[in-house]
């Protein structure tokens, strides 16, 4: 592999970690969603580049799923849910931005140390990819634990999942990557529908009148 190919792969994976960091300090839901769309876009580029470098055409499917489903459909759907339910201002951080960023830096350092130490035998590209992927996974977890709002927790989970897809594409020749990314997309679709149901239930005066009737019937 030429060093240019390696550098580009490295750059894209690094940008994914950077996008994860950008998600950490967003304090408005719309902005968070926009950064997530960027995150998924970078993932799609990164996966497509891996597909080219590894000459693995099935990875293009994964890249396409990331681009269409994660970077476009899901953010748009979430935008509309947020607008419909009128929750765009709610975003509560459990701890301050400064502390969160410090914790994020710590997690990235941790994943570098762990992954680079245990993979001296693997080829350089896979090694770097795994280290970056673990960083993205851990930052996703951090986003989930530092937010109280359901939508931002879901965004955290989706960014975590992007890290997993990066790891799976980095592991050269791994079978079932496309299947796993489809399985995850189904999961995420369910989560988004779940938020919708959940929020309707929480503020049932807003949308579904039938649900309201049934709710009262049970309480009587």
């Amino acid at each position: 592999m030429s060093s240019l190919q390696f550098d580009i792969a490295h750059l894209l994976a690094g940008s994914l970690v950077l996008a994860s960091f950008m998600m950490l300090y967003q304090d408005r839901l719309y902005a968070l969603l926009n950064v997530y769309a960027l995150h998924a876009g970078v993932l799609a580029l990164s996966v497509a580049w891996q597909a080219y470098v590894q000459q693995a055409p099935h990875l293009y499917v994964t890249a396409l799923i990331a681009l269409v489903f994660k970077a476009i459909i899901i953010p748009v759907a979430l935008h509309r849910i947020i607008k419909k339910l009128g929750i765009h201002r709610e975003i509560e951080n459990v701890i301050g931005v400064g502390l969160t960023m410090m914790a994020g830096i710590g997690l990235v350092a941790l994943s570098m140390v762990v992954m680079l130490r245990v993979t001296p035998g693997a080829d350089a590209l896979a090694r770097e990819d795994l280290a970056f992927a673990l960083s993205v996974v851990l930052l996703g977890l951090l986003i989930m634990v530092t937010r109280r709002n359901a939508v931002s927790q879901v965004v955290g989970f989706m960014s975590l999942e992007n890290g997993l897809v990066l790891a799976a594409t980095g592991a050269k020749g791994m079978p079932l990557v496309v299947e796993i990314s489809v399985a995850f997309s189904v999961l995420i679709a369910f989560i988004v529908i779940g938020i919708f149901l959940f929020r309707i239930r929480e503020r049932f005066d807003s949308v579904d009148v039938q649900a309201l009737d049934r709710f009262r019937g049970e309480r009587r």
Binding site: V114, L130, F157, L160, E161, M174, I180, L187, R214
Partner: protein, 478 residues
């Protein structure tokens, strides 16, 4: 090849599609029972089939035990579910439309669990476990009450994080295998992995196992990761609580055992034992301490499930033929007993119209059959002789005592605290002032009595066939 192995996948898959289309809950409830029975009978034929393994499917002594247990409890639960659901329709908690969905999901869950158990491919196994999680999430939230949706949401998010970590572990296992077995499908086939695991990079395997333990451990309900379990058990329909507690926790445990077997081959990698022992003990002590404070009867038994999964993981963590045997026996006994308890609790909650312990009283006087069978279940689950759990707990404790006496002290302490907590809570429910409604119970006693009868029989006399079978599996587990 349409053999028994494919049949136990095909029967639930086809019936799931059929049940989603057919109207009429009486018919679909019966069909659900028939499908579960057919799957169970097919699984029995696995005993005469030679162990085989392909790129995707695998049959060996270990998963035979799990499959037969799973299909048996799914069958009895489907019988219980038919009468339970009948009552839910009458009280209007569920509508026929939801029931069609419920039965289709029930068979989907059977399919996912069977697939996870016979998958020879660690990626396929992961997908199956994810599918099982999704179907149970949908069923936990089926009542659409605020609490049920909240429980489903919590289960969903925590379960998803768990399986995400498990996937990262799976990818790392593939990375470890790639230099040895080459690229492509071989790196995910479990039998190939076990054969070559000795040459894998130990450091990578260690990190992988930590992720797998955290990931699948979330689904087993081990202590720091258990938060979803009590809510999901308490808020979903009772047949689902029985299946979750009796079967789904076992399936996650099975995934963990497979990876443990793989690590055992590699002498340079960490031994998973101490990690599993620690998490098991924490679960036992934690759940035992939490038991007494519960106000909801289903939630209380959910904590008891955490305790018992702790004991089982502890036993498998200790390892060796005797402890493995004890762990397997305990797992079987727990599945049978806990589902019988949930059957009883489900009917009691329907009769009384509440799950709050404070509002249920004097059961042995008002509905003696239900009350006494729950009492028998509780006597079994706390591990009093002569029932099966006493046998298996005794084996766990005695096999540990020979090797690590101090661990036995902690374990026994946990078991005794749990015993005290459960009896203190269940005493007034059984023998106190009769409280709540006293409508006559229309329960299906057969599944309950079958399970309790088997547990009693196992406590008094274990058939030699079963013993040798379990011994073979215990040897396999190392």
């Amino acid at each position: 090849m349409i053999d028994a192995l494919s049949a136990i996948l095909l029967i639930p898959a086809i019936s799931a599609a059929l049940l989603a289309l057919l109207p009429g809950y009486k018919l679909t409830a019966k069909l659900n029972v028939v499908a579960a029975l057919a799957t169970f009978l097919t699984s029995l034929t696995l005993f005469v089939i030679e162990p085989t393994s392909g790129q995707y499917l695998l049959l060996d002594d270990l998963n035979k035990v799990f499959i037969v247990l799973t299909t048996f409890v799914s069958f009895t639960t489907s019988v219980f579910s038919a009468s339970y659901i009948h009552h839910e329709i009458e009280t209007g908690r569920l509508t026929p439309a939801f029931l069609r969905f419920y039965h289709a999901m029930y068979q989907m869950l059977m399919f996912a669990m069977n697939l996870a158990l016979i998958a020879n491919n660690i990626g396929l196994m992961w997908v199956a476990v994810e599918m099982a999680t999704l179907t149970t999430v949908l069923m936990v939230g089926i009542y659409r009450t605020h609490e049920a949706l909240e429980a489903a949401w919590k289960y969903f998010i925590l379960g998803s994080v768990g399986i995400a970590l498990a996937l990262f572990g799976t990818i790392l296992v593939y990375m470890a295998a790639r230099p040895v077995v080459g690229e492509g499908m071989d790196g995910m086939v479990w039998t190939v992995l076990v054969k070559h695991a000795a040459q894998f990079d130990p450091a990578l395997l260690n990190v992988a196992f930590v992720f797998l333990l955290l990931g699948y451990g979330t689904k087993v309900g081990l202590a720091p990761l258990h938060a979803w379990l009590p809510d999901a058990h308490a808020e979903g329909p009772t047949p689902i609580s029985a299946v979750l507690s009796g079967l789904l926790l076992n399936v996650a445990l099975y995934a963990l055992l497979r990876f443990k077997m793989m690590l055992a081959v590699n002498s340079a990698a960490i031994t998973p034992g101490p990690l599993m022992v620690t998490m098991g003990l924490i679960s036992v002590i934690f759940a035992a301490l939490m038991l007494y404070r519960r106000r909801d009867i289903k939630r209380m038994f959910a904590y008891s499930s955490i305790e018992h999964m702790g004991i089982i993981v502890f036993a498998f963590g200790m390892g060796g033929p005797l402890a493995n045997f004890a762990g397997l026996l305990h797992m079987t006994m727990h599945s049978l007993t806990k589902s019988a308890i949930f059957f009883a609790v489900g009917h009691i909650a329907q009769v009384k119209g509440t799950q709050k312990i404070a509002e249920i009283g004097g059961l042995t006087a008002t509905s003696p059959a239900l009350g006494w069978s729950l009492m028998l279940g509780v006597i079994a689950i706390v591990g009093l002789p002569p029932l099966g759990i006493f046998m298996s707990e005794f084996l766990v404790v005695s096999s540990t005592f020979a090797r690590a006496p101090w661990l036995t002290v902690i374990l026994v302490l946990g078991i005794i605290i749990a015993l005290g907590g459960l009896f203190l809570r269940i005493g007034p429910v059984m023998f106190g002032e009769p409280k709540g409604k006293t409508a006559p119970a229309e329960a299906s006693y057969v599944p309950m009595f079958t399970h309790l009868g088997l547990v009693l029989m196992a406590g008094v006399y274990l058939p030699p066939v079963l013993v040798t079978g379990f011994q073979n599996v215990a040897k396999l587990l190392g």
